[in-house]
């Protein structure tokens, strides 16, 4: 990564002026909205999990998977209907941190690049946004596993 360029005094002055005049993100409101939407999504997920345990004979350790699958399908559907991005503008991290955000990032990229064909368009771009999450998720899992093995070997 190249080093960040040093700003000249004129640039610094201007950035202070621009910062002063630009409207700020309403962080407090965003946090509250994210808290409640995130909470609602998790509650729905729990409800789904209970339904799968009660009516479909899943045990507690497995019921999470079909619940997540339902959430993924729902967000992909809402993305396709063009509703998801409007909810996300309102809910922010509340909807993007749960699995819903991951599903949306893949579905939206797939829809967007349909015009470039199935292979190079949909296939090549589907993981444009989700790709880094998978790469670094796998990598950090690997690092964590190594640490765990080392700690065990040291008699931890």
């Amino acid at each position: 990564m190249p080093k960040k360029k040093k700003n000249t005094p004129i640039q610094k002055d201007y950035q202070i002026l621009a910062k002063k005049l630009e409207p700020k993100r309403n962080v407090a409101l965003n946090v509250i909205r994210a808290f409640f939407t995130g909470g609602i999504i998790c509650t729905v997920s729990q409800l789904l999990q209970n339904i799968f345990i009660l009516y479909f004979g899943f045990d507690e350790s497995q019921a999470g998977n079909p619940a997540i699958a339902v959430l993924i399908m729902l967000s992909a559907l809402l993305t396709g209907l063009g509703v998801y991005d409007h909810i996300a503008q309102w809910a922010g991290a509340g909807i993007s941190v749960p699995i819903t955000g991951f599903a949306n990032s893949i579905a939206s990229a797939a829809i967007e690049h349909r015009s470039e064909g199935y292979v190079l368009g949909v296939g090549g771009n589907m993981f444009k946004i989700a790709g880094p999450v998978i790469v670094f998720g796998t990598f950090s899992a690997f690092v964590t596993a190594i640490i765990k093995i080392l700690l065990k070997a040291m008699g931890g």
Partner: protein
Amino acid sequence: MLVGRQSWRFDTRPVILSSAVVGGPFEAQCPLADDFDYFHDDLWLQQDSFEKAEVKLLEHACEKALEKAGLKSQDINFLLSGDLDNQITSSSFAARGLKIPYLGLFGACSTSMEGLALASKIIDNDGANYVMAATASHNAAAEKQFRYPTEYGAQKPPTAQWTVTGAGAVILGREGKGPRIISATIGKVVDLGISDPFNMGAAMAPAAVDTIEVHLNEMNLESDYYDLIATGDLGFTGYSIACELMQKRGIKMDNNRYTDCGILIYGNDPKVFSGASGCACSAAVTYGHFFNRMKRGELKRILIAATGALLSPMSYQQKESIPCIAHAVSIEYIQ
């Protein structure tokens, strides 16, 4: 004639024989809807990609301008056009259909006035009988190119702007009835280190102020010479910064006289956050709204400083700041 270092005065005063503006479905609801010639109610324009839709928009605006001027595409000597797509394909593909000798321009959202200034210079230098200057932008195509997929749920900050879906075209000639191009100032690239692509207004404001200042100095004018001075697409954030900058630099500017196309086109619609942007923004407002006001006699002399952010998605990822430019064109209509 060259005036100062970077301005042209057009002694023959090329005439805008016709202008046309087309928009998309969202623009049909905007406060300036009456000043558009046509709205497409489908964001795709019955095409199978947003990029093809943008080509259609541009072709449509050009055809409409030809129709209004009573000319055929064979009459036009040159087409000057640009847009925001990679390698300005929208313009080149539209030129393929129109079969007019073509010069492709890239000035991002400043393309409207870049094209108008160059077209005027060609006419003024006896280089053509008729020149067409056009530009287009498409909201979804621009989002796809510069930001995220359109349906991706990223929360936008209040400084974000909304790319106009539309196209504008003008036909310039030597003689006739219509607004006349008096002078133009070509801007320098100005970069004051803003690197947030969701804050284009702040990035472009210094370029706009620089060009307006140079224009007034080189033409030896005060700002009150113009009934209206408009920047291209600074939006609310960039507009307030530009006002402050002008005050700091001692440019006398009446706030009733100075406005911004990015504010005017959608008004206070919260959906567009800080206002509008895109090549079609200054083109639609100038070629539609302002020309209509001139024709009604409400405005006589106007100065349009179209602003452009000259970044690419790659330059942004490589942590470059956003270089910006503004080109100003002075237009007069005295009945």
